[in-house]
Amino acid sequence: MPELIQLENVGVIYNVHGHAPKQVLQGLNLTIQPGEFVAVCGQTGCGKSTMLRLILGAERPSSGRVLIEGCERPRPDRHRGYVPQKYSLFPDKTVLDNITFGPETEEFGLIGRLRPGFRRRREELREKAFGYLRQMGLQQSDAHKYPDQLSGGMQQRVAIAQALIMRPAILLMDEAFSALDPGTRADMQRLVRTLWQETGTTFLFVTHNIPEAVYLGSRIVVLGKDSPESSSRVLVDMEVPESARTASGYPNREELERLTRVIEDAALGGRLELEMAEFGG
């Protein structure tokens, strides 16, 4: 049985107009198993989002291979859900239409909507979408609003519903909560953890916030550079055992100290403690 995601010696080089080519990632190796919640963190510009886009199929590696279930899949597809930080919803569609867009498109395509069974099937999909809305903690009255009538947190809830209704094997979230206020962000983190536990979907969550990564991830991957001139690689790759978590969802004190020590030693030189305090843990 092949791994769900496998990055083999992946390198990415960007050609910058008028400058020397910039190597963002080099020799990146990573394997992700089904059902894991991998939180990828690291400083700005270390290539976290690039790695996510490689797995998504929105970008191709300059060297190495990215395998999804043992195959190279160089284009995004319905098996890999995506929740970006911005532009996560279609602005021209209501909440309900955003959620049903995927299943409708998959079943009926561009012109299949003219088929006789479409209206009946659409009603069924709408019912299903209402179920997802409730699961995301949204009201039925929100269903007919346009994205710009929703708060940032509500938009991201709809975006998650929109992705999950497709039942993807992997859900990729790129700094999905970065623009949210701390309270909403905490709510969203709880929601995502619950969804992960309930659905068993593999999550890959990119964040520059270490407490968020520690809270969410069953595994934490830290990307970083050995020196300012070098390209990024995996500096830390460690499991966070569920048994070590307290009722609040955070790892217990010993586990937290271990995680802190590993990340500090390997990569971030003392920044974790500060951010953890900010997070209120």
Binding site: R75, D77, R78, K86, T105, G109, L110, P147, M166
Partner: protein, 284 residues
């Protein structure tokens, strides 16, 4: 008050300010007309109210020629007289050309969308369209008349050459401005290339494309008028050019105002339609 950026004129002031230049223009016109008519009662350059009324009656209620008048027109109702009038027949002739030109903008929008969505398509057309956009349409008018004759096709081609490159490039740029996240998202939701192009990108840019067409209405009319003035047997611009030879200012002025009114109505209709079709769209 005048140069305060936080000024908030009340309703009456705002109304007065917005109509002041209209009122001033009308007053200045009749003052000048009156002055010229004192010097020369037969003056035709700036017709007075009586001459204008006669011109409006001729344009709105009388046919182009005596031969064109159907029998019993003198006793016909006002709507019937209007529908056989010179102004109405000219309006219909120009409107047909205008409608054809608008229809030909649909392929332009499709081309711009495809250029923006599909890089191979974009590479193939972009440089050529950029070059074409720099050609002054009126400068190729003689070539058009030679190539397409002086019939309808040449006039429509003039509009096409004059306006379509702008619409194609506008649509192309609007397509490119759609965030890549939206395109990727479309694929992750099971859409294929054409699904992403038409169900996601086109729907998002359509209100802006319609705005772009709306802003180009004047250019469309400009090219339409140029074609009609040079080679036509009917149409609003043909009539204006014809009456210019006879100094028929009392008909030209109502014609010009009629054209402005029509253009205003088309613009208003497009704006209202755009708002109704795209309730989510907020104009910047």
């Amino acid at each position: 008050m005048l140069f305060r950026i936080d000024a908030k004129p009340n309703r009456l002031t705002a109304w007065t300010l917005s109509w002041f230049l209209f009122a001033s223009g009308i007053a200045l016109y009749f003052y000048t007309s009156n002055k010229r008519h004192i010097e020369n009662p037969e003056d035709k350059v700036i017709p007075n109210l009586t001459q204008l009324s006669q011109g409006v009656t001729d344009a709105f209620l009388k046919p182009d020629t005596e031969e064109a008048a159907p029998e019993g027109l003198e006793n016909a109702s006002l709507p019937k007289k209007f529908l056989t009038s010179m102004l109405w027949t000219d309006t219909v002739a120009s409107a047909k050309r205008f409608a054809w030109s608008m229809l030909l903008l649909i392929p332009a929008v499709v081309l711009g969308l495809h250029m923006g969505m599909f890089p191979v398509f974009g590479q193939f057309f972009l440089r050529f369209i950029l070059f074409f956009d720099k050609i002054i349409a009126l400068s190729v008018l003689p070539i058009l008349f030679i190539a397409f004759g002086i019939d309808e096709l040449a006039k429509i081609m003039l509009i096409v050459i004059g306006v379509t490159p702008t619409i194609i490039l506008d649509t192309f740029n609007l397509t490119k401005s759609v965030p890549s996240e939206q395109v990727v998202k479309g694929f992750t939701l099971g859409a294929q290339d054409f699904g992403v192009a038409y169900s996601i990108v086109l729907k998002q840019i359509l209100p802006r494309v319609l705005n772009s067409i709306r802003l180009n209405l004047k250019s469309i009319m400009l090219f339409l008028f140029a074609g009609e003035m040079i080679a036509s047997q009917d149409g609003l611009a043909f009539r204006i050019a014809l009456l210019r030879r006879h100094m028929g200012m009392n008909v030209i002025i109502p014609y010009v105002l009629w054209v402005a009114l029509l253009l205003f109505l088309v613009d208003l209709t497009m704006r209202v339609t755009n708002r109704k079709l795209h309730p989510w769209f907020r104009e910047a």
